[in-house]
C-alpha cells in the first residue's frame, strides 16, 4: 500500500497544524481533540485499512462467532457453515438494536431480541415475524426486498491465522496491505498451528495513538522499564532492528536478538541469564527462561500492523494485542495469548509463567499504560504545543538501533496523509 492508496475524499481542514513535515513535531491536541477522534473513525477505521479482529483459532468451527470492534464500531466476526469468514456491524437492520449480545458463542443464525428479525452468520436477512401479516392484516409491503436489508457487511480476510476486517471497498488485498517488509515477520511467528490460551484486557485513560507511539518507541524500553536493570540481568550482545514498512510507514517491527547464539542448541534456560553479585536478585529466574523456537534467537519482537494489531513475542510469550479506541482519552488493549499446537507441557507452562512479563501486571510492561496516561494528563491544556521526536533524526536510514524515534516519525507522516492533516 503506497501513499496513493491513502487518497480519500477531500475534507474541510481542521485547525490543527503539524509544525514540521517529517513527523518530528506532533501537536498535543491530536491526543484530545473530539474532532480528530471523529475523523479517525471515518478515515482510519472505516477508511482504507485492515483491522485486526480475532485469531483464526478463536472461531474455528462453523457457526462460531466473536463480538469485537473496528475502531469504536461494534462488529461480529463469524465462521460460516462453509468454513469461510464473515463480519458485520452489530446493529440490527430493522431498528438499530445491538443484535448479538454475547461476547462469543456458536450459532447458525442471529435473531434480534427486539422484534426477532433473523439473520444468518453471513449477515443476510432470513426471517421477519409477521412478514405476510396475520388474519388479512397487512404485513410488510409485498415488494419488500429481504436481500436489501441484510446487516452492514465488512470485508474480512485472514493472514497467518490473524483475521482482519475492513469497511473499505478500495483497500489493497490484505497481503499487500501488510506489505513485503512486514509479512516475513508475521510468518516468523505464525509459521505453524497455534492454540488460543485466553485473553486479558487493560483499560487506559489515554489516547490510542500514545500507545501506538509506545510500540514504535524502542528508546523507552530500558529507561521506563527498570526490571532488567534493577535485578542486574545482563543482556549482553543484543542485535537490534527498527524497521518500518516501505509504503506509508504505519506498520513497523522492532526486534532485539542475542548475537552470541548457537542456533543448534535446543533450549536456553535461565542459566543463560547472568547476574552480578550486588544489588537485587530474582529468586526464581525461570520467568526469564527462553526456549529456542525460531531461526533467530530474538527475545523481543514487537510488530505493529496499523491500526489495531501489535503482534508480540517476548521470550516465549506470544500475544496478538488488539488496540481499540474508546474515546479521545480512552483506549482498551485486548491481549490474545497463544501457543503452538505442538507445545510440550513444559513449554506451555513457560508461556503461562511469562504472562508475568507482559500485560497490565507485566514486569516489563505495566509502566506503558501509566506513561501514556501521564502524557494525556500533562498535555491536556497544551494542545498547540508539540512533542519532540528528534532521536536519530540525523541518520534516518539507521535501522540497526533501539535508540531511535524514526518509527514514530514515520507513523506520524503516514497518519497525516491518511487523515488529510
Amino acid at each position: 500500500m503506497g501513499h496513493h492508496d491513502l487518497h480519500q475524499a477531500e475534507l474541510p481542514p481542521l485547525a490543527i497544524q503539524f509544525p514540521r513535515s517529517d513527523g518530528s513535531r506532533v501537536p498535543y491536541e491530536v491526543f484530545s481533540s473530539p474532532a480528530i477522534y471523529e475523523r479517525e473513525q471515518e478515515r482510519i477505521y472505516r477508511g482504507p485499512t485492515w483491522n485486526f479482529v480475532a485469531l483464526d483459532v478463536e472461531i474455528s468451527q462453523p457457526g462460531d462467532f466473536k463480538s469485537t470492534y473496528v475502531g469504536d464500531t461494534p462488529v461480529v466476526v463469524t465462521r460460516t457453515p462453509d468454513g469461510s469468514l464473515a463480519a458485520w456491524v452489530n446493529r440490527c437492520a430493522h431498528r438499530g438494536a445491538k443484535l448479538c449480545t454475547l461476547p462469543r458463542g456458536n450459532a447458525t443464525s442471529h435473531a434480534c431480541l427486539y422484534h426477532q428479525w433473523n439473520f444468518d452468520s453471513r449477515g443476510n436477512l432470513t426471517g421477519i415475524p409477521f412478514r405476510r401479516g396475520q388474519k388479512q392484516m397487512a404485513g410488510m409491503p409485498p415488494d419488500f426486498d429481504m436481500k436489501a436489508h441484510g446487516l452492514q457487511k465488512l470485508r474480512v480476510d485472514s493472514y497467518g491465522g490473524l483475521i482482519f476486517a475492513s469497511f473499505s471497498d478500495t483497500v489493497a488485498a490484505l497481503p499487500d496491505y501488510i506489505g513485503n517488509e512486514m509479512r516475513p515477520w508475521i510468518d516468523r511467528i505464525m509459521h505453524k498451528p497455534i492454540v488460543y490460551l485466553g485473553c486479558t484486557r487493560q483499560f487506559v485513560n489515554a489516547n490510542w495513538k500514545l500507545y501506538f507511539e509506545n510500540v514504535k518507541d524502542p528508546y523507552h524500553a530500558s529507561l521506563l522499564h527498570l526490571f532488567h536493570t534493577t535485578f542486574n540481568i545482563l543482556r549482553v550482545g543484543m542485535k537490534a532492528r527498527s524497521l518500518p514498512d516501505a509504503g506509508h510507514g504505519l506498520h513497523s517491527i522492532i526486534t532485539a536478538t542475542r548475537i552470541e547464539d548457537d542456533n543448534s542448541s535446543a533450549a536456553y534456560t535461565a542459566q543463560d541469564i547472568r547476574s552480578m553479585n550486588e544489588g537485587f536478585h530474582l529468586e526464581d529466574e525461570s520467568v526469564l527462561g527462553y526456549v529456542h523456537e525460531y531461526e533467530e534467537a530474538t527475545t523481543n519482537h514487537i510488530q505493529s500492523i496499523f491500526p489495531q494489531l501489535v503482534l508480540q513475542q517476548i521470550h516465549n510469550s506470544l500475544v496478538a494485542r488488539q488496540l481499540l479506541p474508546k474515546a479521545p482519552d480512552q483506549f482498551e488493549l485486548v491481549f490474545h495469548f497463544f501457543g503452538y499446537a505442538d507445545d510440550t507441557p513444559e513449554l506451555r507452562e513457560l508461556r503461562i509463567k511469562q504472562a508475568n512479563l507482559v500485560g497490565p501486571a507485566g514486569y516489563i510492561s505495566m509502566e506503558d499504560g501509566y506513561a501514556t496516561e501521564l502524557v494525556q494528563r500533562g498535555s491536556l491544556r497544551e494542545g498547540k504545543s508539540s512533542s519532540v521526536l528528534d532521536m536519530g533524526l540525523s541518520q534516518p536510514d539507521q535501522q540497526d538501533t533501539l535508540i531511535t524515534e524514526s518509527l514514530i516519525r514515520r507513523f506520524w507522516t503516514g497518519y497525516q496523509a491518511l487523515m488529510a492533516l
Binding site: 488460543y196 485466553g198 485473553c199 527498570l226 534493577t230 537485587f280 526464581d284 501509566y370 496516561e373
Partner: protein, 160 residues
Amino acid sequence: MTPLDQMLLWFELYSLQERYISVLDNDQLEAWPELFTADGHYEIVPKENADAGLPMGIIYCNNQGMMRDRILSTREANLYEPQTYRHLVSGLIITPTDQGMVKMSANYVVIRTNQEGDSIIYQAGRYEDQVINTAEGWRYRSKRAIYDTLRVPTLMAIPV
C-alpha cells in the same frame, strides 16, 4: 467434625483471610508470600478465561520465591502511581476434604485510591483457595483470584 469444630475451623480460616487482606491493604507486602506454603501457587485470572477453561491470567506464581520476586519488583523496579487498596471480602465458604486440605471460596472487592484521593472500584471477583495446616498455622497452598472486572484499569502493581 462437630458443629463446634466446624465453627472453630471457619473462624481460624476467616482469620487467615483477614490477615491476608490486612498485609495487602496496609503496606506489609513482604508478609504476603509468608501466608503461602513454599510450593504455594498464586494466580489472578479473568473470569472469562476461567469459565472457558483457558489458563491465561495477569499474575502467575508457582512457588513462594516467585511471590517474593513479585513484591521485590513492585518495591524496587516497577513504576506506578502511589496507591492504596481496601479489600472487602464476604461470603466465606469452607469445604474440608479428606486429605487435611480445606477448600475455601469468598467474594472480594478491591477499592483502589490514588495519591489525589480518587477511589475507584478497581476489581470485583472471587477467591478459590486451598489451605493446609502447617507448623506455622494455616497457609495457602493455592490461591486463585478470579476477577469479574475484565478490563484492568491502567495497571496492576500489587496483588489482590
